[in-house]
Symmetry: C2
Subunit: 189 residues, 2 copies
DNA sequence: CGATATGTGTACCGATCTGTTCATGTTTGC
DNA sequence: GCAAACATGAACAGATCGGTACACATATCG
């Protein structure tokens, strides 16, 4: 249980950054909310940016794992699995404390594409896209790459809508749209 | 030409906030980039937040006007007009200095839904949605509200993809998806 | 002209920011 | 049980934050 403080710091900081944002959260706030001393923080991470990067890596891993495992658990035929993406999405939206996608927010706060946090955020989406593409291939889509990208667009749009609150049921609308797209992409309904 | 300084301030601040973000831009930076004295700034706006709000209102007006006017200029039949949304989108993405949607970024930086900047951002999307709904009605969609919401989801998703750079041609993928949805929603192809 | 409104420049305020210093605990492995 | 590694608290540094004070310039309009 040696490097536990580091993990604890990343885990707890993640929650605060997710809730309040990156620039809006100061190191003193992190000390107060995590109960970990500032000295320790800067011993594990040279700068705040380094901590943020570690937080994003942690979030990428846990979120993607959660999402894809949840999808697998349902044990659906490949075609239904594509649709179920939007059921999992809805679950997420309804969690208390839902505040949108951490990576969309990160790339909004660190706009320079060369910034590591921005790059890390893109990478997260690319990994998700790649998982979607596998699902689309398994489902026998004619153009699995295109279908995967379109489903990802719907997912991102739904997240934005859920975060901003301009649509009463973004996951539902996205699911219906996805259903039409899947039907159009996959031979022999 | 009396209140021109105020307008000039809003216009120029908008460009800086769009490029660098809200929290990341300090008032001193605005002084340097706009050439307007800080005294004048705080005479026109009591706080930085007030200025940000004015900037968002200005952006809402100009962006929505630009987008919808551009759509009208094409003088297309209603059905093609729905599709053309994604052509205009692509134009926007290819502008130099494109940095995603200012309102998505604003609601990412001001996460509390009660924050005026967040509310203003939602309002912008609601107004766009309403314009899309009119287009869908004119095109004879069976469920114009649903179609409009789905097209908006595609649009928001494409913006996020363009900003984060995880899709080589988000507007194209969204357009193709929109085409399928429109076909499914509108009777007698 | 003279009065009022608008803008400027600079110095400053207190608070907060990231990051450091240092002397003192507390675990942990050998 | 002793040394090395890890963690703590509090004070502090220098920069930057949003916002103010004040004295001076400029422009508008009667």
């Amino acid at each position: 249980m040696r490097p536990s403080k580091r993990d604890e710091l990343v885990r707890k900081s993640q929650a605060v950054f997710y809730r309040d944002g990156f620039h809006a959260t100061g190191m003193d706030t992190l000390v107060a909310e995590t109960g970990i001393s500032k000295t320790t923080m800067f011993k594990h991470f040279r700068t705040k940016d380094d901590l943020i990067l570690a937080v994003l890596r942690y979030r990428d891993e846990t979120f993607r794992n959660w999402f894809l495992r949840r999808l697998d658990e349902r044990d659906l035929p490949p075609r239904q699995k594509l649709l179920a993406i939007f059921d999992i999405l809805e679950e997420w939206f309804e969690e208390t404390g839902f505040r949108g996608c951490m990576f969309i927010k990160a790339s909004a706060e660190f706009q320079d594409p060369a910034h590591p946090a921005h790059a890390q955020s893109s990478e997260h989406k690319r990994l998700l896209l790649s998982a979607f593409r596998s699902l689309a291939e398994n489902a026998g889509a004619r153009k699995p790459d295109l279908l995967a990208r379109q489903l990802l667009l719907l997912k991102e749009g739904a997240i934005v809508a859920a975060q901003m609150g301009f649509d009463p049921d973004p996951a539902g609308a996205a699911r219906e749209a996805a259903s039409v797209l899947i039907e159009a992409h996959i031979p022999d309904a």
